[in-house]
């Protein structure tokens, strides 16, 4: 553990929240945008101490802990390990980019928009760094409110339906997750996630808590039967909303699987793995097939997200080293490429005022820079060698083939589908006829500025993934070792039928006894 003395994670969580209050004192729209941009840059600066992350250990680092509600043993407890740190970097990076990509896109209620944006970023950093179950749940749910408003206020024509569906779907999914948290607490007497990881749970307990948690995470990912909120939300959300949705929100689900399901309920994870793998493969194939038939660019990318996230869950639930590493890399890479693709869709929407592919054809001749970026992110999205998508998809596939040839063979068509729908989209955008783009201007400096960092990351992670892999490796090794040792232990110990819930009942003191 590195003790820098400076509360890096708390600063990252609370600085945007405090800065959001500062927005109330600003009036001019341009000042508000500049202010939020500066806040984003400062936030990136605040993240700099995280580069002192120790690559050799799987321990949680930058840990801060202080009592919160002593009566229920709740703590304010944050920290990062290899699984979460990259997501925090991604979250922090996206804030200034989102401000830039909304510079002209958002024309009304500018102050409130940036307010929501800042709240979102604070809550998202909180989710990826919380090490207390209640703290995690608070960020997990609190994040819904600004996201709901982003869709409901600044969304497209069908925003009411989309925002309501998004909110109810995700909230309903996580209600049982709350019951699971309560059950974990009553069972062990603690909300601390690292401490919960060291406890033993009976199989029956794991069975139900896994189901409750997996439902919440599967809706967030989203996995196949629970994915219907995603296209609606993506299509209606403003660009920045789509970017945050695709790059960060979806990752919370898979992060939840890695952080909670595997370490806390290993035996149940093992038990349900065939189900999760099946759903993942269905998501990959179904998402890809549906994406192939879309006319709306945002819908196409939204369904491609379903397929790409299927690779993440597939990688997680084959429980191989490369599978899990690939899954984490895929989380990052999908965040970068899909976020960038949504920004590009937003950029072209400002020119054509339509998201239909048919209205945005033939850009290659008139907007070469735009097509360059689009082509780069599109090929990264389907995993072209040399881009970041290739690294993660290859790792996941290697992991899957290590586990089973059959599963690997089933996943391969998903990769081909990805190439098919992305190339179809790129082809039409670049050379489709008739083109209306003759009068449109190519990317301006502001658009260059927010696309270039992501393009650099695509190539950097594609050509030199070593540093990222080194960062996640110790944590993944630790995670899988723990998992391997405890899943077997559990299957044996669960033969003795002793539900721990009963012992708590006996030990709990009743008020009447005093």
């Amino acid at each position: 553990m590195i003790d820098t003395g400076f509360p890096v994670l708390s600063a990252l969580i609370f600085f945007p929240l405090l800065a959001a209050i500062g927005l109330f004192f600003l009036r001019d729209e341009r000042t508000i945008r500049l202010y939020t941009l500066v806040v984003g840059l400062i936030e990136m600066g605040l993240a700099a101490p995280l580069f002192r992350f120790d690559l050799s250990t799987a321990e949680f680092q930058f840990v801060e802990i202080m009592p919160w509600v002593p009566a229920w043993n709740m703590h304010y407890h944050v920290g990062v390990d290899g699984i979460s740190i990259l997501m925090i970097f991604l979250t922090v990076l996206l804030l200034p980019l989102c401000v830039l990509c909304s510079w002209t896109y958002i024309g009304k209620r500018v102050k409130e928009f940036h307010f929501c944006l800042l709240l979102m970023i604070g809550a998202c950093v909180g989710i990826f760094s919380a090490l207390d179950f209640v703290l995690f749940y608070i960020f997990w749910e609190a994040m819904l409110i600004p996201m709901f408003l982003l869709i409901a206020v600044w969304g497209g024509p069908n925003k009411r339906y989309a925002s309501l569906k998004f909110f109810i779907y995700t909230l309903a999914g996580s209600t049982l997750f709350l019951a699971a948290i309560v059950a974990f607490f009553v069972n062990t007497g603690t909300f601390s996630i690292p401490e919960l990881m060291t406890h033993e749970y009976s199989f029956r307990f794991q069975f139900w808590t896994f189901l409750a948690m997996a439902l919440a995470f599967a809706i967030k990912v989203p996995m196949f039967p629970f994915h219907t909120w995603l296209p609606a939300a993506h299509v209606e959300a403003p660009t920045a909303g789509s970017v945050l949705l695709a790059s960060i929100l979806l990752k919370m689900g898979t992060y939840g699987f890695l952080r909670f399901c595997l370490p806390l309920t290993p035996a149940a994870s093992e038990y349900f793995a065939p189900l999760m793998i099946t759903i993942s493969i269905v998501s990959i194939l179904y998402g890809g097939a549906i994406a192939l038939g879309q006319r709306d660019m945002k819908k196409l990318i939204a369904y491609s997200s379903v397929a790409h996230m299927g690779f993440v869950t597939l990688g997680i639930f084959v429980f191989t080293m490369r599978g899990v590493e690939g899954a984490i890399m895929q989380m990052i890479n999908h965040g970068i490429t899909t976020g960038a693709l949504f920004m590009l869709v937003g950029a072209i929407y400002e020119r054509s005022h339509s998201r239909e592919i048919a209205d945005n054809m033939g850009l290659g001749k008139y907007l070469p820079a735009y097509m360059f970026f689009f082509g780069l992110f599109a090929i990264a999205s389907f995993g072209f060698p040399g881009t970041n998508g290739f690294v993660s998809e290859a790792l996941v596939l290697i992991g899957v083939f290590e586990a089973s040839y059959l599963l690997g063979a089933l996943a391969i068509p998903g990769v081909m589908l990805a190439a098919a729908y992305m190339l179809r989209l790129g082809l039409k955008l670049a050379w489709g006829q008739p083109s209306q783009a003759a009068t449109w201007k190519d990317l301006n400096i502001r658009e260059w500025v927010y696309l270039a960092p992501l393009a650099v990351l695509v190539l950097y992670l594609g050509l030199m993934p070593t540093l990222a892999l080194k960062t996640i490796n110790p944590s993944v090794v630790h995670l899988l070792n723990q998992y391997e040792s405890r899943k077997t232990l559990h299957l044996e110990s669960s033969l003795q039928p002793e539900p721990p819930v009963q012992s708590i009942q006996l030990s709990a003191t009743r008020g009447t006894d005093q």
């Binding site: 509600v69 002593p70 229920w72 608070i138 409110i145 206020v153 309903a172 209600t175 009553v186 008020g511």
Partner: protein, 478 residues
Amino acid sequence: MIFQIELFIPELYLLALIGGLFVLTVGPQSWWRFLRYLPLAAGVGIGVAALSFQFSGLMLYGAYQVDGLSQFFKLAIFLGLAVTCLNALNQPTLSEEKRPDYFLFLCLSALGLMLLSSAVELVTIFLALELASYSLYALIPLRSKEPAAAEAGIKYILFGAVVTALAMYGLSYILGVHHTTYLSELMTKTWSWSEAPAALIGLTLFLGALFYKLALFPLHFWCPDVYEGASNETAAFVATLPKLGAVVVLVRLSTLLDPSMEVTMLLAVLAAVSMTFGNLSALVQNDLKRLLGYSSVSHAGYVMLGIVAGTAAGLAAAAFYAVVYLLMNLACFWVICRLSTDGRNLKLDDLNGLYQRSPGLALVLAVSAFALVGLPPTAGFMGKLFLLNSAWMEGYHWLVIIAVLNSAIAIYYYLNLVRHAYTREAPVTASGEVQAVPNPGLLWGGLLAAAVLWLGVAPATLFSFAQLAGAAAGGVLP
């Protein structure tokens, strides 16, 4: 000890206030301007109650107990009284000459609730409950030119009278079987169906009076009608403070209960039915006060989670939740009262574009709505979490699961409030302008919302007081 004046300070303070109000009612009209200092005086009461936290003792021949629980609730009652008085100061549907009387009854009802929080003997409880109720009977119809208010008043009186009579009847059973009405002695008696069926029937009937106050299913039916009929400001009082009184007595009575008893199981089932029924009914409401009425039916169910758990932790959670409920409901009603400048009932559509008409009020409404759902980072979430924890500890797994699933139902109609306020456009006047809300009272509304948020982020302090209250309820002094 028969009487100790220092134990009685908060009640005496309120009595003095009531005396002052009585003088105003009979005095010349020029004195009525003093009424505007009433919220301030009630606010001072919060301080008085806080100072009295250090005292504890038993008086009036063991019928009146001052302890952590009672002082905690007295503080909450003063808080609620201050806010409701402030809220009702410029009530549009109250004729000028009734103004002092209105506040007199308001304070009398609060006094009844205050006595209730210290009563540890069934007859005392009954009398205090009646003092609180009779004042309300007079308050509800006080809404000028509104026949519905008279209907609501009659409904409340008639049903209230029936329930009271049943409670009295139940009390006679308890007295007949166990030969005492002191809770500390009743604690040691048996309450099982097989050994003392008559006592159990009596207890159930007596609890009925409290369920009526709390609006717990199946004695909830008056709630939406009365809220709808009464003026907005009166509804704000009826919706919040009497619930505190009911919760405090239930907390005291829960020392009689045990998870193994039939009546506890009955309470658990009623809690589950109440929250589900309340939420489902609220889904289709169009009138804001009816919606909040059904919402309070479901919240009565949530509070019961802590009562049926019966542990010190559970009772503390119930006490905590009662205060949180008070704050979030008052915040919600604050918005309604400010918005309804002519005192009419508001429909959901009246919230349209509230964001444009008064951004501050819209924010207060959003905070209170999300708190009522139980969404973090508001106090509603923390209160619910504590209740769930305590209920799960006692093995009520099914009840906890029903409770969390209910949030998924409830989110729709609470979110609807926010959607109307934020995503719909405000109606425009003929000149094409949006009419701003006059006198939004943002300072107090904002303070309520801030309190709801603050208790969600840092609940530890209030909860430690609630724990004192819960621990006090655990052991009734001999």
